[in-house]
């Protein structure tokens, strides 16, 4: 018995000793262990960057929920033929991450208008409003005029920095508009959309506000995206879509007016050929309107009639133009159609557009120096898509899970809580012979709705560059502005004007 006790005590002591020597652990040579050790060493080497951010690039994946980021990471890896689960997106490797609380002043679940404004003005607003304080109720024109907010883009303009925004959605859509507009209704995109009361009250439409935008500076240097019809009168035929007309009712040709007002070196472009010919060294300002409405989904871009640049191509060109200013720049880049694909219940296009955003971040990383450029990648709100089941490692992320539901039918790994993927009063369809990886496939949903809804879960903030270490923990969405302002010392720049 004594021998036994001694032996077990010795064994215990040996185990205890081994436990303190990491390299002797039985798992010490396991590839996961070694990779995590490498990550640990990298993290230990990281140092806070407290330089002044000369430039700021704010990437917004509209509706890019955390499951969207995860699924896109797997999707991107599987497309390349590598392990999707352990794959990393470019912004997934950023050193600093926080969670962003997306509720708005009046809503538990947000729309894109107040959330974009929160990011660029530092405060929360009411749903449906952009660039106005929380005292403005939706569609209240009088309150709109009395309660404007000043965005970080406007502050940058005032300090002589260059400014720009890019979006695959219409440039009059909520997210890009947050940089320049003050409106009590996000739907007032052209003058035809204004209510009689708003017109009588002197409230201007969003497209007109963009063209006239100065805010103490000389107006934007770069604006590229969709939404051409909002800038053209209904008597004017679209240059790309035969037989389709503009939407305005005031007879104005806003791109033409903008070019004239912006002066020499200002270009208006609307197709790929013009985009390719644009020389950043000679271009002082550019307005690009590449589609009558939103630009194409990345999955459909190759079929666009007049051709459209990718989000990455627009980002590179924008940085080249904005980078001509020694005082620095502020640029917002929005992947605006992740949100639209989710609303359609079409995960494949949402993931393709998320990968396009990742490509744009990669392109930006190749153009700027993180010593003087703060890069933030975040979302305005979430969507209801989930990643569920017990799929095996390597199972196609758009595919069927191996096991079946209690109804004996297979189900997809990705699914939606609500949306067009649910058939009213009908039993769940059998997916046995359905190609759920098809680009047009709509994932099944629980609650039938014509349009899938936003979701209220927190979204992620990924950040790199000066003062990005301030992004940690769970923060309010409007905190993003405060880090951008602090990092760029925009207030000091204003005081020293």
């Amino acid at each position: 018995m004594k021998r036994l006790l001694v032996a077990s005590a010795l064994a215990g002591a040996m185990c205890a000793n081994v436990a303190y020597a990491a390299d002797q652990l039985p798992q010490a040579n396991d590839s996961y262990f070694l990779a995590a050790q490498q990550t640990l060493q990298q993290k230990l080497m990281e140092q806070d960057n407290t330089n002044r951010a000369k430039n700021i690039i704010l990437f917004v994946g509209d509706g890019m929920s955390i499951p969207t980021v995860t699924a896109a990471r797997i999707f991107e890896g599987q497309k390349r033929g590598v392990d999707g689960e352990s794959n990393s997106l470019v912004f997934g490797q950023f050193p600093n991450v926080a969670l962003s609380k997306t509720y708005t002043h009046d809503a538990q679940i947000a729309d894109s208008a107040p959330t974009a404004s929160a990011m660029v003005t530092g405060v929360k607003l009411n749903n449906g409003t952009i660039g106005v304080s929380k005292d403005v109720a939706r569609r209240d024109c009088e309150a709109q005029k009395a309660n404007p907010l000043i965005s970080i883009a406007a502050q940058a303009e005032e300090k002589g920095m260059s400014t720009g925004w890019i979006s695959t959605a219409r440039l009059t859509h909520a997210t890009p508009a947050a940089n320049y507009v003050h409106t009590a209704d996000r739907n007032w995109e052209s003058d035809s959309d204004l209510t009689e009361e708003a017109k009588a009250g002197g409230c201007k439409d969003i497209a007109l506000q963009m063209i006239e935008w100065k805010e103490g500076g000389d107006g934007f240097e770069v604006a590229m995206g969709g939404g051409r019809r909002m800038f053209m009168d209904k008597t004017m035929e679209d240059p790309e879509d035969k037989g389709k007309m503009g939407q305005r009712s005031d007879g104005r040709d806003l791109p033409k007016e903008w070019v004239k007002a912006a002066g020499a070196g200002a270009e208006y472009i609307w197709n790929q050929e013009q985009f390719d010919k644009l020389d950043p060294a000679k271009t002082k300002k550019v307005l690009g309107l590449f589609d009558r409405s939103h630009m194409e989904y990345e999955a459909d871009r190759a079929k666009d009639a007049a051709g459209e640049p990718s989000l990455a191509e627009m980002t590179e060109k924008a940085i080249d133009i904005l980078g001509n200013n020694d005082k620095g720049f502020f640029l917002m880049v929005e992947a605006g159609r992740i949100d639209h694909a989710h609303h359609d219940g079409n995960a494949a296009r949402a993931l393709e557009d998320t990968v396009a955003l990742n490509d744009a971040v990669k392109a930006a990383m190749g153009k700027v120096n993180l010593n003087d450029t703060l890069i933030i990648v975040t979302a305005d709100h979430a969507h209801t898509m989930t990643i569920s089941g017990y799929a095996s490692r390597g199972n196609p992320i758009l595919g069927l899970s191996e096991e079946k539901g209690d109804d004996g039918k297979p189900y997809t790994t990705l699914g939606y809580m609500n949306g067009p993927g649910a058939l009213k009063d009908e039993v769940r369809a059998d997916l046995t012979n359905v190609d759920t990886t098809d680009i047009d496939y709509l994932q099944q949903a629980l609650v039938p709705m014509s349009s899938e809804t936003h979701a209220g879960d927190d979204v992620a903030i990924f950040a790199a560059g000066p003062w990005s270490h301030l992004f940690k923990g769970v923060v309010e969405q409007n905190f993003i502005y405060h880090v951008m302002a602090h990092a760029s010392k925009i207030q000091d720049r204003m005081a020293s004007k």
Binding site: H294, D304, N346, P420, D440, L442, S450
Partner: protein, 146 residues
């Protein structure tokens, strides 16, 4: 008489036997997205089908109808919750197919997958009855719920 349900298919196949010479499983199928090479140009396969006037299958979804008791509907690639012709400014997709049926259509939910069968016609044309201008049509058509 109304069409649009599975029960109709059998009867229609018998009465239209000459037109639908091939059984359903043997017919050529083309997705709406494959009708186009670019937004401005039809695909070679679509041109071939139109030239041969072969009866083909096109899967898709029925957009909400403009009016009741119509003998046409709009086929969309993905479900569309709004009627494409009801709002002048609606962002309906460019790749829609105008489907002309010989019988009155029983509308189905906008997100119900259907298989449409008919003869493909390409090029801008105005429908005599409705006045709708379309670029792609499926005529002498019927559909089946999937």
């Amino acid at each position: 008489m109304r069409i649009g349900r599975r029960t109709f298919i059998a009867g229609a196949s018998a009465t239209l036997g000459l037109v639908f010479a091939k059984p359903a499983f043997a017919r050529e199928k083309i997705k709406i997205r494959d009708l186009y090479k670019t937004q401005a140009e039809f695909s070679d396969q679509a041109k071939s089908f139109a030239a041969s006037r072969e009866v083909i299958n096109v899967p898709g979804f029925m957009a909400p109808p403009l009016k009741a008791d119509a003998s046409f509907f709009v086929l969309t690639q993905r479900p569309m919750a709004v009627c494409p012709f009801c709002e002048t400014s609606a962002d309906w997709p460019s790749d829609i197919v105008f489907v002309r049926t010989s019988k009155i259509v029983d509308a189905v939910a906008f997100n119900r997958p259907i298989m449409t069968t008919g003869i493909l016609e390409l090029g801008e044309a105005k429908d005599e009855e409705t006045g709708f201008v379309s670029l792609v049509r499926l005529v002498d058509a019927q559909f089946e719920i999937l």
